[in-house]
């Protein structure tokens, strides 16, 4: 079945630095979604990006489908960006998705 690996598992930055998060998956994906989860909070959808490059605010996601990888770039990080970032990939073109284990980001002032 679909397997999803995220790296790094944790990342510590100073405010203003950029972050690069990686997501690698084992099978072809028709759906790929990046989520943010604040400590103790629920999941908030950031971007849906099964292929190509998408931007929203300070976030840029690039997915290279044939290489089965996606990245999430956070520019000019802020302390409020601290939390866990999860990527989720569909399985066999169904509604069901598999989540990675996440990258825990901590941004210090």
């Amino acid at each position: 079945g679909q397997q999803v690996q995220q790296s790094p598992s944790s990342l510590v930055l100073q405010e203003g630095e950029n972050a690069e998060l990686q997501c690698n998956f084992s099978s072809t994906a028709t759906q790929l979604q990046w989520f943010y989860q604040s400590p103790g909070g629920s999941l908030v959808s950031l971007l849906s990006n099964p292929s190509g490059t998408k931007h929203t605010g300070r976030l840029t996601s690039t997915t290279v489908t044939k290489e089965r990888r996606s990245s999430l770039h956070i520019s000019s990080s802020q302390t409020t960006d601290s939390g866990t970032y999860l990527c989720a990939i569909d399985t066999s073109n169904t509604d069901k998705v598999v989540f990675g284990t996440g990258t825990r980001l901590q941004v210090s002032p």
Partner: protein, 112 residues
């Protein structure tokens, strides 16, 4: 649009009691998902419905967990004879077919 609604937000039960968790998906969304999240296991898929029909319950512990979707506006997750290891945040999500999932705030279940 209120988003996905989950009730209660917190539930505390004694060992052996029953717990019922409720989810109201976003109006018009045909797929409803249940997940469980713990620090140790991370985010685990439990089950999902499409157009109220159960499609995949491969993540559900077989003996004490059950889920229903009696109508398009709500789904329930029932845990019988709760055990301390059932303590977790239970998350519900909904989506349009093949589209991105939207999550509710979750129900934090604590089994004493």
């Amino acid at each position: 649009n209120a988003g996905v609604i989950q009730t209660p937000r917190h539930k505390v039960t004694g060992k052996g009691q029953e717990a019922t968790l409720w989810c109201e998906p976003i109006s018009g969304h045909s797929a409803v998902f249940w997940y469980r999240q713990t620090i140790v296991q991370g985010l685990e898929f439990l089950t999902y419905f499409r157009n109220q029909a159960p499609i995949d319950d491969s993540g559900m512990p077989k003996e004490r967990f059950s889920a229903q979707m009696p109508n398009q506006s709500h789904s329930t997750l029932k845990i019988q004879s709760t055990q301390p290891q059932d303590s977790a945040v239970y998350l519900c999500a909904s989506s349009l077919p093949g589209a991105e999932q939207y999550f509710g705030p979750g129900t934090r279940l604590t089994v004493l």
